[in-house]
Each structure stands twice: as structure tokens, then as C-alpha cells.
């Protein structure tokens, strides 16, 4: 078997065993603590450029689900391919078992040319990332040396976004979705609420389109890379049409409003993040995947914090004080993760409805 190592920019070297595609890769190493949902996570475009470390040690148990298309999108995946750069786990289940499985995780990684390493002390790795923050790293196979590479220096959104306008569903409300690397479940959540979704590229000038509501999606990397999107959103918030954003969408809406964003030490990537709805005692468990956040104190006076993270007090969402604009840093569409905040889509559609009938 070929020797393979994970090398971090701080000099840490961990030897592992390969169960995916044998190719040296480099990226940003991040950990996630979810215990289920590796097919969803691996296909989440927000992970573009990242080498993902699973803190849950037993991975591959239920294989990879069948690749079915429903309403024009993959039924069991969050996009049309694996977006991570590499996967690091502790214990790989060679044997998998599930009624809906079509192949093993290892075979899936191989088929999409993504390396995967097991037999690594992922807790040790997590502690390093927690102490030092997310680090650059590389998976290096024997006699295939490569350089470190910082994905945050490139425009990851441009990589993850669609390059053409696509329409989904046939509902009464027309939603323009600015795709910065959208997860399929956002589309599913919208079209099952009587909408027609017009998915446009990240830099598309949607202000020229006719629509009832605007949706800003999740996506990878630094929001500062999306100047052009922010410029378009600024136009939208000068108007009255409802806007909802998720994750990167939250940060872009914040930037458009005039707030600032910053990079978190090691981000939130898990299914168990508690967020409190401001001014209430309602606390929700949410699914998250982000490395950047809005600095709440930089929000202009006509905007306010909507949700706050109970663990570290970071911003989890904002809203306009008078207009129907809101966004969340967490993922109400889940997939993977808890679905407790899916009602936010209802709130959005409700305001779209109200806004439309108000005309």
C-alpha cells in the first residue's frame, strides 16, 4: 500500500491509510462534529477547497445513497458532485449496510477522484485546529509531493456557483436565488412552498429581473470575494421586496447593509449549534458550516441582530428593522442536521405573499 500523510502548515505530520482516490491534494483543513450525513456534507458546495476532518470516528457505515434526480436536482446529494478537497477520518467501514446504498464511500470518493484517509487520530487533529485555528494542509502520497495552497485566496464562490440561469418548480411566487454555491435542499425547501425558483450565477445582475422575493444562498470562502454580489444586493435593499439569506447569504446581506465580516478562529461546522431568537427565550438547535461571521456591533442602526449563538455570542442572523429582509448564519434547510428552523422558509414565503398582495 502507498504511504500517505496529512501534513499541516504548523509542521504536524500524521500518517494514515488511504480509502479514497490516490492523489495528493492541498487545501484548508477544517473539522466538523456532525455524527450523520457524510453524503450531504461532502456534496455541500460550502466545503469547496477544504480538507474535511470528521470528529465522529466511524464513517462509511451506510454507504452512499442512490443517485436519483427529483425536480431536476439530486435527491440525496446537496449538489451534483463532491465538493470537499479531501476527507480525514478515524475508522472507515469497509462493509456498509443500508437499503438505499448504491456503493461504498471509498468507491464514491475514488469515482470522483477525491482522496480519503483513515486511521488518523482525528481528536488530536481537532484539538490542533481548535487551538491554532483552521490551518492549511495537504494530503501527500508517497513520491507525489505538492505545495500548500490557500483556497481562501481564490474566489471559491465563482467555482461553486452555477454558470447559467436555471429555473425550478412552477409555483405562484417567483424567487430569484443568487447561487453562491447553493445546497439542493434550499431549492427543495422553496419549491415545495409554491414557488418558482430562478437560480442565477453569483455575479448575475438580478436587479433587472422581475421577481417576488430574493434569496441569497450559502457558499464557500470569504464574503469579501463577492463585491459584485454585494453591489447587486445593495440595489435590492433599497427596494421593498422580501429577502432571505442563509450562511454566506447572511454575510453578504450584512455587507450590503454596511456591516463588517471577519474570519472565525475555526468556524462552526456541526449539527448542534444553539441559537437564541433575540428578545425571546426560544433557543434552536441548528446545522452550521461557516468560517466567517458578521461583526454584530458594526450593523447600521436600521438593522438588528436576529439570532445569536448561545455558546460564543457570535452573530447567527440579522434583520432589517422595518423592511422584510432577514438572514441566518445557520442552515434552516439542514440536510444534513436538525430541521427545527425550517419554519423560517414559511416566514419568508409569508412575507413574499404579503408583499405581493400589498401591491
Amino acid at each position: 500500500m502507498r504511504k500517505v500523510k496529512l501534513i499541516l502548515e504548523d509542521g504536524t505530520v500524521l500518517e494514515g491509510k488511504s480509502f479514497g482516490y490516490e492523489k495528493s491534494v492541498a487545501g484548508e483543513v477544517v473539522f466538523y462534529t456532525a455524527m450523520t450525513g457524510y453524503p450531504e456534507s461532502l456534496t455541500d458546495p460550502s466545503y469547496t477547497g477544504q480538507i474535511l476532518v470528521s470528529t465522529y470516528p466511524l464513517i462509511g457505515n451506510y454507504g452512499v445513497p442512490k443517485d436519483l434526480i427529483e425536480d431536476g436536482i439530486h435527491k440525496h446529494f446537496e449538489s451534483n458532485k463532491i465538493h470537499i478537497t479531501g476527507l480525514i477520518i478515524s475508522d472507515y467501514s469497509v462493509g456498509f449496510s443500508h437499503w438505499n446504498a448504491m456503493m461504498s464511500l471509498g468507491d464514491w470518493l475514488k469515482s470522483q477522484e477525491i482522496p480519503g484517509l483513515y486511521d488518523i487520530d482525528t481528536r488530536l487533529l481537532t484539538k490542533i485546529l481548535r487551538e491554532k485555528g483552521s490551518l492549511l494542509g495537504k494530503i501527500e502520497f508517497e513520491s507525489e509531493e505538492i505545495e500548500f495552497f490557500d483556497p481562501n485566496l481564490s474566489n471559491l464562490v465563482a467555482i461553486a456557483s452555477t454558470d447559467k440561469v436555471i429555473t425550478y418548480g412552477n409555483g405562484a411566487y417567483k424567487i430569484v436565488m443568487v447561487d453562491c454555491g447553493v445546497k439542493n435542499n434550499i431549492i427543495r425547501c422553496l419549491i415545495k412552498r409554491n414557488t418558482t425558483v430562478i437560480r442565477v450565477p453569483w455575479d448575475y445582475d438580478f436587479t433587472t429581473l422581475e421577481y417576488d422575493g430574493l434569496f441569497l444562498t450559502n457558499g464557500p470562502g470569504d464574503p469579501a470575494m463577492c463585491d459584485i454580489t454585494v453591489k447587486h444586493i445593495k440595489v435590492a435593499i433599497a427596494q421593498e421586496k422580501p429577502i432571505m439569506g442563509i450562511c454566506l447569504g447572511n454575510q453578504l446581506l450584512g455587507l450590503a447593509a454596511g456591516a463588517e465580516t471577519y474570519k472565525l478562529k475555526y468556524g462552526h461546522r456541526s449539527h448542534n449549534q444553539p441559537v437564541l431568537l433575540n428578545g425571546t427565550n426560544r433557543c434552536f438547535i441548528t446545522s452550521q458550516n461557516h468560517g466567517f461571521a458578521i461583526a454584530t456591533e458594526t450593523l447600521p442602526s436600521d438593522w438588528e441582530s436576529l439570532f445569536v449563538n448561545v455558546n460564543d455570542n457570535t452573530n447567527e442572523g440579522i434583520r432589517h428593522k422595518t423592511k422584510p429582509f432577514f438572514s441566518t448564519q445557520f442552515h434552516p434547510e439542514a440536510s444534513s442536521g436538525p430541521v427545527d428552523t425550517e419554519f423560517l422558509f414559511d416566514d419568508f414565503i409569508e412575507s413574499v405573499k404579503k408583499n405581493k398582495s400589498g401591491k
Binding site: 500524521l14 473539522f31 462534529t33 456532525a34 455524527m35 450523520t36 450525513g37 453524503p39 450531504e40 470528529t55 465522529y56 470516528p57 466511524l58 457505515n61 451506510y62 445513497p65 478515524s90 475508522d91 467501514s93 469497509v94 462493509g95 456498509f96 449496510s97 443500508h98 437499503w99 438505499n100 487520530d121 482525528t122 481528536r123 488530536l124 481537532t126 484539538k127 481548535r130 456541526s270 449539527h271 448542534n272 449549534q273 444553539p274 437564541l276 427565550n281 426560544r282 433557543c283 434552536f284 438547535i285 448561545v310 455558546n311 439542514a334 440536510s335 444534513s336 442536521g337 436538525p338 430541521v339 427545527d340
Partner: protein
């Protein structure tokens, strides 16, 4: 925002440990009490289980050792006038009591608020029909089910739903009275039995073979909900979750399935209106996302205790706080101390729970696992691979097995298909045997329906075994293979056996060779923390486990000679239970108070000792030589305490000592002198102390010769048992022959110990503490039963009420001699026989015994604290209390769980059968006895009783009792001999015929089945309990029809005296601290 109207509360405990309701409620009750105390709420605990941690002075403000029934609780309410009551922390016992208090209007009458989930919500989950209706309102599926109150309705329902079906009894503990049936005949049988426990039964569609998944859900008054943990059963539906191997988190569920069930759990808890914690059990179709909700427990449960230990999330503590009015987000995560309690733990390890059965202890019991519970305890194993966790777990269960593989003669399974198809307590080994015989994963799945993922993991372990046995020496064993074996949880023992292949006599030295070899290669385990957030936040947690699947320790080790390791008791089992947890925790407390750091090793999720805030460091790991050495290598402790956790740590003494591990207290050599029968016997001879004559023999001829010398009856203890109990008393040649040929094995390799058995002798216990051979504190207690009943099953009185002063004097003298000869430092226990002032020593244990918490609490002198101080060699005060100065009496009574053990003969004998105990304090012996017997489920008969009094001794013993009952207008039904004996002595009884007789008299079984008697007294005639006899039929039916049964004449006469002489209304309700 907490409810400030609640200043004083009653907390209901769960009483004695029984099958289906065990130590987990000591853990959850203690947690709740801790939470209440933190909020300044005055706590009044009602729990007769004296061996628990929760019934300790520093845990609750006031403690009543009384039965947890509405009658007694009301008396306490009248006296204490509390503002609130907590029902969710004492299992089904407390819940049922709470429902009774509510229905009888007692809570309303005394204006008492239920803290936490409202009683109506509890009733809604307990009544299956209401429950199903409520879930239907929110479109949640339950198994199609019909509630029936007659057997006719049950048959009708069966026609409607079609077989196979499951029958369940409502309002019962752990699936009692439940079972599967595939035809009407089976239905009739099951339904009849279920009706004996409950007025309502359920006839349900069978979803046998589906996955079984549970969620632990928490809700606060703001409607915030979290699921703390989910768990998946290794065994598919059909085996009670308490009987199943369980993993956490679920392993085979996709994200969609996981969250579909999670969302449903939250929907359900909201609908029911739980404030606190509840458990939702699902069946999940293995071929789709179809599901059914099987059960909801609106209280803390065995599963919630397991979930707390599996995640580090203190469910009971949080539930109590939520009951007081906190929101989840207002509480802190008690592990990280900085993050909120409103989150869902992320695990970075896998947990395996395995039940512990003790079915071998019972005559005639069915070993098949099914929908009702038979296990007496459980273990939890933690690893970073499934293979590692399950192999650890199999060793932890303590059935003498060494893991999934590497068991040689320990288990012989011939009928593989049969064992796989009809699972018994040996199911996991049947799978190993199947692999050994070439069965594929698919084939085993076909028969068992255990998810293939689990089977594939087990097959990995088996495949590795096949690779290991290809090598014959450690030197030729490849390093990476050795490392892989350790990562898959192989112990040094297994590796020694599989690779070195020497006879078992060499295994102890071989496993040390494996240890030395791997250490020389740098193959040692690492210590990881359980921190609830998978490392995301820094946590100063001291909750640790040992794994080979990692390369870095999470903690540092301070080699400052300030740490003391206490070895815990392992799985609860018959003979070793919560009392050793009490001892362990008290030792840990003392160690901390004396300024040392305490380190606990234990793996029982039902205990307080495995609560991470009990000690300075908790290793939730194995109590094997290998693991204890691993931990000692790292910690380099000042010393280890082996005398608190019962026999498991005690057995390690010599081997740990030989490896240079410092042992605190009595030396390993002296422990060996007490444990080794020959050495101990020789020592007693030297000390001129008498003991029953005994001999270790290897042929039937020698045994006969010895028996000729000492006379019958004799006690036989084989070293190799073919079937049935390991010990037996035989009264004649036939029985002796029968036992030695059918049940045991006699040979040079398997000698048999035969001892003289003294009849009608009193049994006396000494629990004491010595330092450097001098006794510094002691307690003498006596058994109500004559010798012949195992001390764990005996009714014990402290201080003794009926001993001669001379007997006591002699016992003290002998105890001093023994303590001096064994140079004891620490706790010890000696059991004596006394017949007319003639004293013989039966046994001596140089460790804490089962009765330490009982005597400590009655004396109000903590013998474990003194013992620990003696072992630590720190100053302590010698108690000056004399046992004669007590103005009150404590009586400890055993709790049996025969009703759960189908077909088991409910008798007591030389082998222990009880699963728990209670003890109550009274002004006199009879008051204490009555309270404690009511606490273990006896009910006071008002009009009718059935007596078959067995041998003449029994008849004589019960004569006075019968007279007293007649004076109180009882109808006494008696079998022939008893009837005639009583008649000759002037007492009229109704003669009834034996089960196998057919004459004009009423048959005893009809009396029982038609509930014409309120109590059955059946004294077995002799010591053979093997044959299905009339006596067996009477006893078993009494159990099956839930009629109180007494099988010991001395206990029966004491109980009858108590009910005749005492008026319940006049018994003073006194808290523990009011007995002075």
C-alpha cells in the same frame, strides 16, 4: 426564572433494585437531589433502599426509609407539608405511586405541585390507547393496537389484526407480562398472564425484525427541545431494549432517518407536554423510512442513565432544574462550564451497552430473550471503533468471556442455528461460533435480522483472529497486526491464547509476556476525554476512557504520590450490586476529603461512582489486570483500593501486587490467605477457631466416604458446573448422586468441595474495620432465617435481637483473633454459624461486604470512611458507639425478581437469588420487619391465606402464627399434612388438595388462579429443588398471579406476628435522623 413557590419537595425513590428497575435510579435521584440542593430547595427523600448513595445524609436533607406507596407517602406528606413532589426520578415505582397520589386526590388535598412533567401527561403516555389516540392527532404512527380488558376482546382483536401479534400489559415495569404470539393458543396463555399484572392489555401488530431506535428528549417550559442522544439496538425489534446490546449514537441510520425520528421525538414531547426528560422508542423499517412509535417514558429511565453516561450530558440534573422553571439555554453545560446546556452532544467515540444476565442462578428458568426483561445489570464500553468497544464490553459483562473471540472452553455452542434463531443470553457467542463454522454475514443476517453493519464489524474481529492464529510466537507476529488487534479491542489475554497457544495454566504468565512485548514495541493505549462537543471547545473534563485508536493522550499525569485509585464493582449482578457502589463512592469521598486525588475505575452506567463529578478522575473502562496496569503505568498512584468494589477488584489483588502495584490496606498475601480455602482453614486451625468440616475431593468414592463421616446434609460446591446452580445442599445419597452426575463434574481437574451443613443454626455477620490487625469499629447482625439461606437473600437484623450475650462475646473474640492473624487494615466481613453458643466460621472476606451500607446507616457511623482512613494511614476517631445502645432496630429484606424469570423456582437456598434489598428502621424488630417487607412488595393479607408448611420444623414454627390468624378470623387454607397437624393442635383450617391431586377439596392452584388467597406460605420440604414438584407449582403460580409468597418458616412467622400485633395507623412516621 425559577419557581420561587417551591421551597420544600418530596422526591420519590425507586426502592429495591429489581429486574427492570435497577441502579440507574440511584444515579438519577442523586443527580436530581444535587440540582435541587444547588437551588436551595429543601429535599425530603422517600426510598427504602438503604444501600443507595441518594439515601446519604449529605445528598438529601431528610430521608425516610419507607415503602414508596401512596399510603406511606401520604403519611410523610402530612408530616412534612411539602410544596412540591418529584415523580420522574424513581422509575416506574415512583411514577405509579405518583399516579395513585394524583388519582386519590392526595396531591390536590395537600396542595402539592408536581415538579416537572404533569401527572396527566404521565397518564397519557402510560395508557396505551390514550397514547395512540394522542399521537394520531399529530399524525404520528404507532403500531396498530387494540386495548382489551377481557380475554374475549383480546381474541377478537387478534382476528382483526392477524398473527403474529405482541401482547403487552399496561402499567408495568420493563415489559412485564409481554410477549409474542403466533396463534390463539399462545395468545390465551400470554393474555392470561398479562391480565394478572394489569387490568388492561394490548394486542398489537408485530413489527418483529425492524430496527429499534431510541431518542432521549428534553423540553423546557419555553418549549425549547433537544435530543441529547439517540441509541440503536444491535438486536432488532423482538428483544426488549433492556435485553439488547445497544450502541450510541445510532450507526446504521442515514441523516434523513436520524432526523426524521428526531423531529418526531420533538413533536411527541411537545404534544405530551413533558417538562424535563422523556424517552421515545421507535421501530424503523430496515427497508424504507417507515416507522412506528413503540413507547414513550415520561420520566428518567434506564436509557436516560445510559445516555447521560454515553454523552456526558447530565440528564437527571438538567431535568430537575427544568422542573424548577429554568430554560435550557439558561443552564450551563456541566462539562465545558462555558457553553450552554441547550445543545445536542457530539460524540467522537462509540458506546456499546451489553446486558448482564444471571440466569444460571435460577432453577428451571427460560433462557430465551424476548420482549420482557431478565437481565440484572449492564455495562457500557467506550471505544473509537465498534470492534474495540464490543470486545471491551464482552469482557466487562464478566461472564468469564475474554472478548468476541479467544474463548476456548468457556462456552460450548452446538446448535448454532437454534441459538441464532431463538436468542438466549449467549447470542453474541453463537454469532462467533457461526463465523467459526463458515457462516457468511448474509446467512447470519437471514436468521437473526441483525443489521449487516454490525455483523460485518464482528466478522472483522473473527477475520483478525484467523490471521493471529497463523503465528505461534510473539516474535514472529507482525507489529502492524499486533497493533491492529489492539485497535480491535483484543486483550493481551486473547492474543496470548491465540498466538502462544499454551495450556490455560500458563495464561497468566503468557499475557504478561504479551504486555511486555507490546510495550517494548511502543504499543500502549491512549487516554481520551469525553467532553460532549467532540473537542470543539476546550473542556477540563475528567471523564476518561482508554483506547488504542489514537496517538495522543488528552490529559497529563501528575506523578506526585497524591493520587489514589479506587476499583469499582463492575456490572450489577446477583451478589454484587448498589451496595458496592455506595462503598466505592464513600471511599472516593474520604480520599478527596483527606487531600488526595481520587481516581475511579468502573464501567457500570447505572452507578453514581461513574458520575464524573464524584471523583477527580474517572476512567470509564475495564477492571481487568491489563487495563488496571495500563492506568497505573500512566498515573503512578500512591496506592490502589481493592476492598470497596466487591469480588472483582479483590480477585486482582495478588496479580497486581506481583506487578508492583501498591495496594492500600490489607496486603495481597493476606487477602490470598483468606481467599484460599486451604490456607484459611489451616490458619483457623492454628488459631483454634472452629469451622464446619470440609474437604476438597476428586472422586465420587472420596465424597461418599467424607459424607459417611460428617453425615447429611452436606453442602456441595463443584468447580465445574454442567447445569443449574453452582452450589447445592443435599440431604441423602440419592440427591447427592443425582447432583454429582447430572449437574456437576467431578475429576482431578474439577475438584468438588463438600462441607458439613449444620441445620437450625443461626447465621451471624460481622462487618468491621481494622487497622494493623486491631479492630477499630464493628457491627454484628443476625439473620432471621436459619443457615442455609444465602446471606444475600437473608432477612438481616441489626443490632441483633435474639443472640445470647455469650454468643456475641465469643464472636467478638474470634473476630479479633482473625483480624490480628490476617493483619487486616481496612474493611472486612466474617460470617458465623452459631448453635447453642457453639461458634463456627463460614467465610471471611477482606473487603467491604454487602451489609456495610446497612449497618453504617443504622449505626449512623460510616464504616467505609473509617476503613478508608485506616487504609490511607491518616488519623481517625474510633467510634465509641456500642451496638447495645441503639434504641431502634434496622431490618434488611431481600427483593426477588422471580416474576420476571419465567419458570424459575422462587425459592431461596445456598446460592443467591435476590436482585436487591431494602432496609427500614423501626422502634422494634417487628415494626422494622413489616416496613421492610412491605417495601419489597408484600401486601398485608386481610382475610385469607394458604399455608403448606413443609417439614415438621416448619409446621411447628407456624403453629402460633396460625393461631393468631384464626383469632383474627382469617380463613386458612392448608394442604393435607399442614391441615392435620394444625387440627391436632386445635386449629381449624380448610383443607385443600395439592396441584396434582384430584379430589373433592379445592385445588391449591385454583385458589391461586382465582385469587381466593391473599398470601401464600409454602415451605419447601427438603433441599432438592430440581424436580417440577407440587411445591414448585404452588410457588410459581403464586408468583405468576402476583400473590405474595413466603418460603421460609421463620420469616413467615415473624411477618404474621408483625401484621397481627401492629396497627399500621399507629406506626410513627420518622425520618432517619429522628431515630436517636
Amino acid at each position: 426564572m425559577i419557581n420561587s413557590a417551591i421551597k420544600k419537595v418530596i422526591v420519590l425513590g425507586s426502592g429495591a433494585l429489581k429486574i427492570g428497575e435497577a441502579g440507574e435510579f440511584d444515579y438519577s435521584g442523586s443527580q436530581a437531589l444535587k440540582a435541587l440542593k444547588e437551588e436551595g430547595v429543601y429535599t425530603v427523600l422517600i426510598n427504602p433502599n438503604i444501600a443507595t448513595i441518594q439515601t446519604s445524609e449529605e445528598i438529601a436533607d431528610k430521608i425516610y426509609f419507607l415503602p414508596v406507596t401512596a399510603t406511606w407517602v401520604e403519611k410523610v406528606i402530612e408530616k412534612e407539608k411539602p410544596d412540591g413532589i418529584l415523580l420522574a426520578f424513581g422509575g416506574q415505582t415512583a411514577l405509579n405511586c405518583g399516579v395513585d397520589l394524583f388519582r386519590q386526590g392526595i396531591l390536590e388535598k395537600h396542595n402539592i405541585q408536581v415538579v416537572g412533567t404533569p401527572v396527566q401527561s404521565i397518564i397519557n403516555t402510560e395508557d396505551r390507547q390514550i397514547f395512540a389516540d394522542i399521537l394520531r392527532e399529530i399524525d404520528v404512527l404507532t403500531p396498530k393496537s387494540v386495548a382489551c380488558d377481557t380475554i374475549e376482546k383480546a381474541r377478537e382483536a387478534a382476528k382483526q389484526l392477524g398473527f403474529p401479534l405482541i401482547i403487552r400489559a399496561a402499567y408495568t415495569l420493563g415489559g412485564l407480562g409481554s410477549g409474542f404470539c403466533s396463534n390463539e393458543e399462545e395468545l390465551n396463555k400470554l393474555a392470561e398472564n398479562a391480565f394478572s399484572y394489569s387490568p388492561q392489555i394490548l394486542v398489537e401488530e408485530s413489527i418483529k425484525g425492524w430496527k429499534e431506535v431510541e431518542y432521549e428528549v428534553v423540553r423546557d417550559k419555553y418549549d425549547n427541545c433537544i435530543t441529547v442522544c439517540n441509541m440503536e439496538n444491535f438486536d432488532p425489534l423482538g428483544i426488549h431494549t433492556g435485553e439488547s446490546i445497544v450502541v450510541a449514537p445510532s450507526q446504521t441510520l442515514s441523516n434523513d432517518e436520524y432526523h426524521k425520528l428526531r423531529t418526531l421525538s420533538i413533536k411527541i414531547i411537545r404534544k405530551i407536554g413533558v417538562v424535563g426528560e422523556c424517552n421515545v422508542q421507535f421501530a424503523l423499517d430496515p427497508n424504507s423510512e417507515d416507522y412506528r412509535v413503540i413507547e414513550v417514558n415520561a420520566r428518567l429511565s434506564r436509557s436516560s442513565a445510559l445516555a447521560s453516561k454515553a454523552t456526558g450530558y447530565p440528564l437527571a440534573f438538567v431535568a430537575a432544574k427544568l422542573g424548577l422553571g429554568y430554560g435550557l439555554h439558561e443552564l450551563k453545560n456541566s462539562v465545558t462550564k462555558v457553553t450552554t446546556a441547550c445543545f445536542e452532544p457530539a460524540l467522537d467515540y462509540v458506546v456499546v451497552k451489553i446486558p448482564r444476565w444471571d440466569l444460571n442462578k435460577f432453577e428451571g428458568v427460560s433462557k430465551t430473550l424476548g420482549s420482557s426483561m431478565k437481565s440484572v445489570g449492564e455495562i457500557m464500553a467506550i471505544g473509537r471503533s465498534f470492534e474495540e468497544a464490543i470486545q471491551k464490553g464482552i469482557r466487562m459483562v464478566g461472564g468469564g468471556m475474554h472478548g468476541f473471540e479467544g474463548n476456548r472452553s468457556e462456552m460450548e455452542i452446538t446448535d448454532i442455528d437454534g441459538e441464532l434463531k431463538n436468542p438466549t443470553d449467549r447470542r453474541i457467542f453463537a454469532i462467533a461460533e457461526a463465523f467459526q463454522n463458515g457462516y457468511s454475514v448474509d446467512k447470519i443476517w437471514e436468521i437473526t435480522r441483525i443489521d449487516k453493519w454490525f455483523l460485518q464489524k464482528l466478522s472483522n474481529i473473527h477475520d483478525l483472529k484467523n490471521r493471529l492464529i497463523e503465528f505461534n510466537t510473539l516474535a514472529e507476529l507482525p507489529v502492524d497486526l499486533l497493533l491492529l488487534a489492539k485497535k480491535q479491542g483484543y486483550s493481551d489475554f486473547q492474543i496470548a491464547r491465540l498466538v502462544m497457544k499454551n495450556p490455560d495454566s500458563q495464561i497468566q504468565s503468557d499475557l504478561l509476556k504479551v504486555r511486555a512485548h507490546r510495550k517494548s514495541l511502543g504499543i500502549t493505549p491512549v487516554i481520551k476525554q469525553i467532553d460532549t462537543l467532540a473537542g470543539e471547545y476546550p473542556a477540563l473534563t475528567n471523564y476518561l476512557y482508554v483506547t488504542y485508536n489514537g496517538t495522543e493522550h488528552d490529559v497529563e499525569f501528575q506523578h506526585d504520590q497524591k493520587s489514589v485509585i479506587v476499583l469499582g464493582s463492575g456490572a450489577y449482578r446477583i451478589g454484587s450490586s448498589v451496595e458496592f457502589d455506595w462503598c466505592s463512592v464513600n471511599a472516593v469521598n474520604t480520599i478527596r476529603k483527606e487531600g488526595f486525588r481520587s481516581i475511579m475505575i468502573n464501567y457500570n452506567p447505572e452507578t453514581v461512582s461513574t458520575d464524573y463529578d464524584t471523583c477527580d478522575r474517572l476512567y470509564f473502562d475495564e477492571l481487568t489486570l491489563e487495563r488496571v496496569l495500563d492506568i497505573c503505568d500512566l498515573e503512578q498512584p500512591l496506592g490502589t483500593v481493592l476492598s470497596m468494589g466487591g469480588q472483582i477488584p479483590n480477585n486482582l489483588a495478588m496479580r497486581l501486587h506481583k506487578q508492583g502495584i501498591p495496594i492500600l490496606g490489607t496486603t495481597a498475601e493476606k487477602i490470598d490467605n483468606a481467599e484460599d480455602r486451604n490456607k484459611f482453614s489451616a490458619m483457623l486451625d492454628r488459631l483454634d477457631v472452629d469451622q464446619p468440616r470440609w474437604s476438597q475431593l476428586t472422586t465420587i468414592e472420596d465424597i461418599n466416604r467424607f459424607v459417611d463421616e460428617v453425615g447429611f446434609p452436606v453442602l456441595i460446591r463443584p468447580s465445574y458446573v454442567l447445569s443449574g446452580a453452582a452450589m447445592n445442599v443435599v440431604s441423602n445419597k440419592d440427591q447427592l448422586h443425582h447432583f454429582l452426575t447430572l449437574a456437576a463434574h467431578v475429576s482431578k481437574e474439577h475438584p468438588v468441595v463438600v462441607s458439613e451443613f449444620i441445620e437450625n443454626a443461626k447465621e451471624i455477620e460481622v462487618d468491621a474495620v481494622a487497622k494493623n490487625g486491631e479492630i477499630v469499629a464493628y457491627a454484628i447482625s443476625e439473620h432471621v432465617e436459619f443457615a442455609g439461606v444465602h446471606s444475600g437473600d437473608a432477612t438481616i437484623v441489626f443490632p441483633p435481637q435474639k443472640l445470647y450475650i455469650e454468643t456475641i462475646r465469643r464472636i467478638k473474640k474470634i473476630s479479633r483473633k482473625i483480624a490480628l492473624a490476617l493483619e487486616i487494615t481496612g474493611p472486612f466481613n466474617i460470617q458465623y454459624l452459631a448453635k447453642d453458643n457453639d461458634i463456627k466460621v463460614i467465610e471471611c472476606n477482606l473487603r467491604a461486604s454487602r451489609s456495610f451500607p446497612f449497618v453504617s446507616k443504622v449505626l449512623r457511623t460510616n464504616l467505609i470512611e473509617i476503613a478508608t482512613k485506616a487504609m490511607l494511614d491518616v488519623p481517625f476517631e474510633k467510634p465509641d458507639k456500642s451496638l447495645f445502645e441503639l434504641d431502634y432496630v434496622g431490618v434488611k429484606a431481600p427483593q426477588f425478581s422471580f416474576h420476571r424469570l419465567l419458570n424459575a423456582d422462587p425459592v431461596t437456598g445456598v446460592d443467591m437469588a435476590s436482585t436487591g434489598e431494602v432496609a427500614c428502621i423501626g422502634e422494634n424488630f417487628y415494626e422494622a420487619l413489616l416496613k421492610s417487607m412491605l417495601s419489597v412488595g408484600y401486601r398485608i393479607p386481610k382475610k385469607t391465606i394458604l399455608i403448606s408448611s413443609g417439614p415438621t420444623k416448619g409446621k411447628v414454627e407456624l403453629l402460633e402464627s396460625a393461631r393468631m390468624l384464626k383469632e383474627r378470623d382469617f380463613t386458612i387454607y392448608a394442604t393435607g399434612g399442614t391441615h392435620h397437624f394444625f387440627k391436632e393442635n386445635g386449629i381449624e383450617t380448610e383443607q385443600v388438595c395439592w396441584p396434582d391431586e384430584d379430589n373433592a377439596d379445592i385445588n391449591t392452584l385454583d385458589l391461586i388462579k382465582n385469587r381466593k388467597v391473599e398470601m401464600v406460605i409454602n415451605i419447601p420440604k427438603d433441599h432438592t429443588t430440581r424436580e417440577i414438584s407440587n411445591g414448585y407449582n404452588i410457588r410459581r403460580n403464586a408468583i405468576d398471579f402476583n400473590i405474595p409468597l413466603i418460603t421460609n418458616a421463620r420469616v413467615a412467622s415473624a411477618f404474621i406476628y408483625a401484621i397481627c400485633k401492629l396497627d399500621l395507623e399507629n406506626i410513627a412516621i420518622k425520618a432517619w435522623n429522628e431515630y436517636k
